[in-house]
């Protein structure tokens, strides 16, 4: 199959991604997303540009970044901090201190940091490079597993995603596309032949609420799902259950009804209870976490929510 060795920007490749579709999967995470959901657990996935990540835990106080920062400009965003204990040892080290207000994001420090305490969230790569990396994991894909392309929003880097999928499909790899659904309809139709299963987020059935929570309205998203269903796609709906924000009975019923309307195309509904594990990633990027007032839903609530879906004859699970 013809394909183009397009360039893409990704921020991670994870093996044994057990929550991203059937079987054992390796997931590619592309960078940049048109949505900005309040509960997003991967803040590094949102922006299309590179970002400076800072994980002080890993800092050994080697001072290389301080030097690199000084060489790069005069603002002095990185300096030497107070002595603190190094992870897992009694050794006192003077870790770096990052003042983001003085940082212009040149990322020079990340080039010298061995331990990746300072790191660039995201790097540029090519279809071939990613393909070669993914193919290393083929021995694990036998029992229904494969590759998941996730984001950010992979459809936002359409040329890269399409060509990567073409190459993978050519090698007989099972492909999941994890998407927000927020991309032009014709692009979904173009990529459809290369996708075995869409992992399709449905976040709120009310467009105004959807916009308030994610930054975009939901019409395009819902229309695309219907379009894909009509054209023979297999769809696994993912519904993140966020207390107070989208867990009303009314919205749940509307979501379930929507799932029913997808008919044969729908293979499974996964209810994803809100969790806080992404919180520390916000600190690393120096960004505020906006959902400070929300707790994960109790198990009993999730069980009831599940019943609401299964009562409609939908294949559903809490994930």
């Amino acid at each position: 199959m013809e394909y183009k060795n397009a360039t893409g920007r990704i921020y991670d490749i994870q093996g044994y991604a057990v929550h991203d579709g059937p079987g054992i999967r390796t997931t590619v995470f592309t960078k940049g997303c048109p949505l900005s959901c309040l509960w997003c657990h991967s803040p590094e996935s949102q922006g299309f540009g590179f970002e400076l990540g800072w994980l002080p835990l890993k800092c050994l106080g080697m001072d290389l970044c301080v030097e690199a920062c000084r060489k790069a400009c005069t603002r002095g965003a990185i300096s030497r901090g107070e002595p603190t204990k190094r992870m897992g040892t009694e050794e006192m080290v003077e870790k770096a201190e990052l003042d983001r207000t003085k940082c212009d994001g040149c990322l020079k420090c990340t080039e010298v940091c061995f331990t990746k305490a300072l790191y660039s969230a995201g790097w540029d790569t090519t279809v071939d490079e990613v393909y070669d990396r993914l193919m290393k994991d083929v021995p694990f894909f036998e029992n229904g597993g494969g590759v998941t392309v996730s984001g950010g929003e992979a459809m936002s880097q359409f040329e890269f995603t399409l060509n990567l999928l073409k190459r993978l499909k050519d090698s007989g790899i099972h492909i999941c596309l994890d998407t927000t659904g927020f991309a032009p309809a014709e692009k979904f139709l173009e990529i459809l032949p290369y996708v075995d299963l869409f992992l399709y987020d449905v976040k709120h059935m009310d467009s105004r609420r959807h916009k308030a929570l994610t930054g975009v309205p939901n019409e395009l998203i819902l229309d695309n799902a219907r379009l894909l269903a009509k054209n023979g796609a297999k769809i696994q709906v993912r519904y993140p259950v966020i207390p107070k924000l989208n867990d009303s009975r009314e919205n749940m019923e509307a979501t379930a009804d929507f799932c029913v309307s997808l008919g044969e195309a729908l293979t499974l509904v996964q209810l994803l209870p809100y969790h806080k594990s992404g919180r520390s990633k916000y600190d690393r990027l120096g960004r505020p976490y906006r959902l400070t007032n929300v707790e994960p839903p109790p198990e009993s609530f999730m069980e009831k929510a599940l019943e609401l879906f299964t009562a409609r004859g939908l294949p559903a699970q809490i994930h």
Partner: protein, 823 residues
């Protein structure tokens, strides 16, 4: 997923509770040691195998018979169920003098405080006197009487050496003991003896002695069983409870039958198995021995009774539960602690049991193997016993003895499911074994396919042909793991000099900065390694000959196929198959060190060999050397990330070592079998100077064949792929991957099957054994503070699983840290 937590019967619950209560009421076994000392003292010139038989017969017929009121199975290896077995003829007299010849005050603080293994004043006086006799008559004395002088001098560098432990590590024919019986074997031995007597030659005199010894111990075994029968009848008379009375009388009938005849019921089968185990304990070889493929004969016994209506499924499960509990009760003393360590442990509220649990599986390193396939390979051998034994471990939450499950194309989903559930709950229980690759490894040894399909795992990870092989891995294998490979690396770097021990090796060579190419350095590593292996292999022959000369292992010989047939005991080559195991270790420490030298000094020329040499010499403490060390740790390729550049060196050195070791002459005409295992990477690392992989002097070595946990950067798939590159079908003495998952990744029904897919993929890639622990760091930290709430927390260490709360604080921290690095 189905809930496998079927309730424990009230009786099993009580037994489990009792086991907890008596954990801290342990005593050294002096009964056995008094009998053997008395016998050996008074029969100095009896021929070794007859002397062994005479002692065993005396023990079988005069030992105390204990029948506990609540127990489902009868007796123990020692006088009571928390006897700690130690074998005086194998125990270095220096240790005895050190512990019991210490001041009164220190002796009491170590052996006579609550929580200690109890030794009375009377026993103390006795053992000191007995040690005087054994000093010149124990196994070590025999060894020193025949070992070449250069070996005696090398004892320290070559490992624990012949300090005197019996071999252990074998898989005798429990099935023969239970399903054929001592009575039937005795008849064959008598026929063989009669035939020899009609035609005595210089060659068969020794066989005659073997058969005489054989018959004597058969008689002793039958008598012991009848003594238990008598004990049961006596108890029955004293019992008012009619149910218990009937039970005791039924057991009396059974004990009159078993041992002399094949077992007829499940209870008889398990009881006969225990009686044989008591014999092995008395013979001093219950050290990482394995009952082999027990479900093969226990399953049909249970199925027959259930079909006949004499046993319900619930009753069968109760018997298997009682079996799992009781078989964990046979405690062997290892290591032999100093009074210092004991006093320190008692101060911290720990007991000997804890010391033992932290260093070694306490149930004598026993390992049960279940599952597998028929000799013709056309079907699996999973039956009711396979399932009920697994369910026993799952519901009882026990860590010992270890459990190995054989996996093949016939493994039922239900067995997979219980095994994964059990592993999630109790780390490393069971260990998953890859039939296809292990059978292939056995074929490469020259074992015919039908027998290869009947391998069982003994010790920690070592496969052998169940009931047919004398696999002397333990004693001699101790030479292999440990210092070997890392010491050689030191010689290659420091010019035949070990900076930690400040001494020279045997083969003069260049220093790191004098090699002109990486190939030259590798060639030197190979030359040194081969010299080491040659010495080691030669030493194994002398070790084996020590036993052959004066310490025949009669109990194992009686039931191991080939001995009865050939008239030779196992130490004389009687078994159908013979193997000599030896383990490589520090796979990643060596591999990554070679990669670092190649990449830094030869390929990329980032630093000169001289600079790296100086950093190592200075233990990374000189100017700028920490920076270099961090670069090595964080920015260089490491084994464990599916990076061929890094994995290449691991593949090279392990293949080189394994091929050479396996090609050396095996003991008793058998094969040398290399494996990959280390139980003491922390202790071993203490005696190793800095290594090029960024390790500082005294830091732990890498564990067995595992990559360095803190250098695994690409997640579990790449990790598994790297490890699968090891030459596993040549590593026929076993070697397991130790995987850890976080709780999140094993929750949910489909996540379980993904664990199975991962194990299956590792097996397809060529791996042979897999263990995993689901490590919950929070639970572990809580267990450090509130051990009483986490008595059942079990984690996989390397070759065995241990109760987390029994581990030393240092080991606990090491375990938590390593795990957290991986996340």
């Amino acid at each position: 997923m189905e809930n496998f937590d079927y309730p424990l019967s009230p009786r099993i619950q009580e037994l489990k509770e009792k086991r907890k209560r008596i954990n801290k009421d342990m005593r050294l076994d002096f009964e056995r040691n008094r009998i053997i000392t008395e016998y050996y003292k008074t029969h100095m010139h009896e021929y070794p195998i007859l002397k062994r038989a005479g002692y065993l017969y005396t023990w079988l017929t005069t030992r105390e018979i204990n029948i506990d009121d609540d127990d489902i199975f009868l007796g123990d290896g020692g006088p009571h169920c928390r006897t700690v077995h130690f074998d005086i003829e194998q125990t270095p007299s220096a240790w005895i003098e050190g512990c019991f010849g210490d001041t009164d005050e220190r002796f009491r603080a170590a052996w006579q405080v609550p929580g200690s293994v109890w030794v009375s004043d009377e026993d103390r006086a006795w053992i000191l006197e007995a040690a005087e006799f054994w000093k010149d008559n124990d196994i070590a004395a025999t060894a020193m009487g025949l070992f070449p002088e250069d070996f005696v001098a090398k004892r320290r560098t070559m490992g624990r050496g012949m300090s005197g432990t019996f071999p252990g590590h074998f898989c005798p024919g429990y099935e023969r003991a239970v399903m054929v019986s001592f009575g039937e074997c005795r008849k064959i031995a008598q026929e063989k003896l009669d035939a020899i007597r009609k035609n005595t030659t210089a060659e068969n005199v020794r066989s005659e002695l073997f058969y005489r010894a054989y018959i004597k111990v058969c008689d002793g075994m039958i008598l012991m069983s009848k003594r238990y029968a008598e004990g049961c009848r006596k108890k029955a008379e004293e019992t008012a409870d009619p149910v218990r009375k009937a039970e005791l009388l039924q057991r009396a009938d059974s004990c009159d039958w078993i041992v002399e005849h094949p077992a007829r019921t499940l209870w008889e089968g398990i009881q006969a198995l225990f009686f044989y185990q008591y014999l092995l304990i008395a013979d001093g070889v219950h050290w990482a021995d394995s009952p082999g493929l027990i479900d093969r004969f226990l399953g049909p016994l249970a199925e027959k009774e259930i079909a006949e209506g004499t046993l319900t499924r619930e009753q069968a499960q109760e018997l298997f539960d009682a079996f799992v509990l009781h078989i964990g009760d046979q405690i062997i003393m290892f290591p032999k602690p100093t009074n210092d360590r004991l006093i320190e442990a008692h101060k911290n509220g720990k007991c000997f049991f804890d010391l033992q649990g932290g260093a070694q599986n306490i149930a004598a390193g026993s390992l049960i193997t279940i599952g597998g396939q028929t000799p013709d390979g056309t079907a699996g051998t999973y039956n009711i016993a396979t399932e009920m034994i697994l369910l026993g471990y799952y519901r009882l939450r026990v860590a010992e003895p270890s459990l190995a499950l054989r996996i093949n194309q016939y493994t039922p989903d239900r067995i997979w499911a219980i095994a994964i559930a059990c592993s999630i709950r109790s780390g490393g229980i069971p260990q998953f074994n890859n039939d296809n690759k292990i059978i292939e490894a056995m074929l490469k040894r020259g074992v015919p396919i039908e027998d290869a399909r009947q391998y069982a795992v003994f010790g920690c990870v070592e496969p052998a042909i169940s009931g047919k092989e004398w696999s002397m891995a333990a004693n001699c294998g101790a030479f292999g793991a440990g210092a070997g490979p890392t010491s050689i690396l030191q010689y290659v770097i420091h010019g035949n000099y070990d900076p930690m021990w400040k001494r020279e090796g045997e083969l003069p060579c260049k220093k790191l900065y004098e090699y002109e190419s990486f190939e030259e350095l590798k060639a030197e590593f190979e030359r040194q390694a081969k010299h080491y292996i040659d010495t080691m292999s030669r030493m194994y022959h002398f070790a084996a000959f020590t036993f052959n000369t004066a310490w025949p292992v009669l109990s194992a010989s009686m039931m191991t196929e080939g001995c009865l047939e050939s008239g030779k005991d196992v130490t004389w080559g009687g078994a159908t198959y013979n193997g000599m195991g030896s383990m490589i270790n520090a796979v990643a420490t060596i591999g990554d060190s070679l990669t670092v030298i190649k990449k830094l000094c030869f390929d990329d020329k980032i630093v000169s060999t001289k600079e790296l040499y100086e950093a190592l010499r200075d233990n990374w403490e000189g100017e700028g050397q920490e920076l270099l060390r961090q670069r090595i740790l964080n920015a260089l390729p490491h084994y464990g990330n599916d990076d061929d550049y890094a994995d290449e060196q691991v593949v090279w050195w392990t293949n080189m070592w394994v091929d050479y070791y396996n090609s050396r002459n095996g003991v008793n005409g058998g094969t040398n079998n290399c494996g990959a295992l280390d139980l003491n990477w922390v202790g071993g690392g203490k005696f190793q100077w800095a290594t090029p992989d960024g390790r500082k002097s005294g830091d732990p070595l890498s564990i067995s064949s595992d990559p360095r946990q803190d250098c695994i950067k690409n997640g579990p798939l790449s990790y598994v792929k790297s490890v699968a590159k090891m030459p596993w079908t040549k590593l026929r003495c076993g070697g397991a991957i130790n995987s850890r998952f976080d709780m999140n990744s094993v929750q949910g029904d489909d996540a379980w099957w993904k664990v199975r897919d991962l194990i299956s993929a590792y097996f397809r890639l060529g791996g042979i054994q897999y263990h995993f622990t689901v490590a919950d760091s929070a639970a572990m930290r809580d267990a450090q503070v509130h051990p009483e709430d986490h008595q059942d927390l079990i984690v996989r260490i390397a070759g065995y699983s241990a109760y987390f709360t029994h581990m030393s604080t240092a080991d606990q921290n090491d375990y938590i840290n390593r795990f957290e690095h991986q996340v």
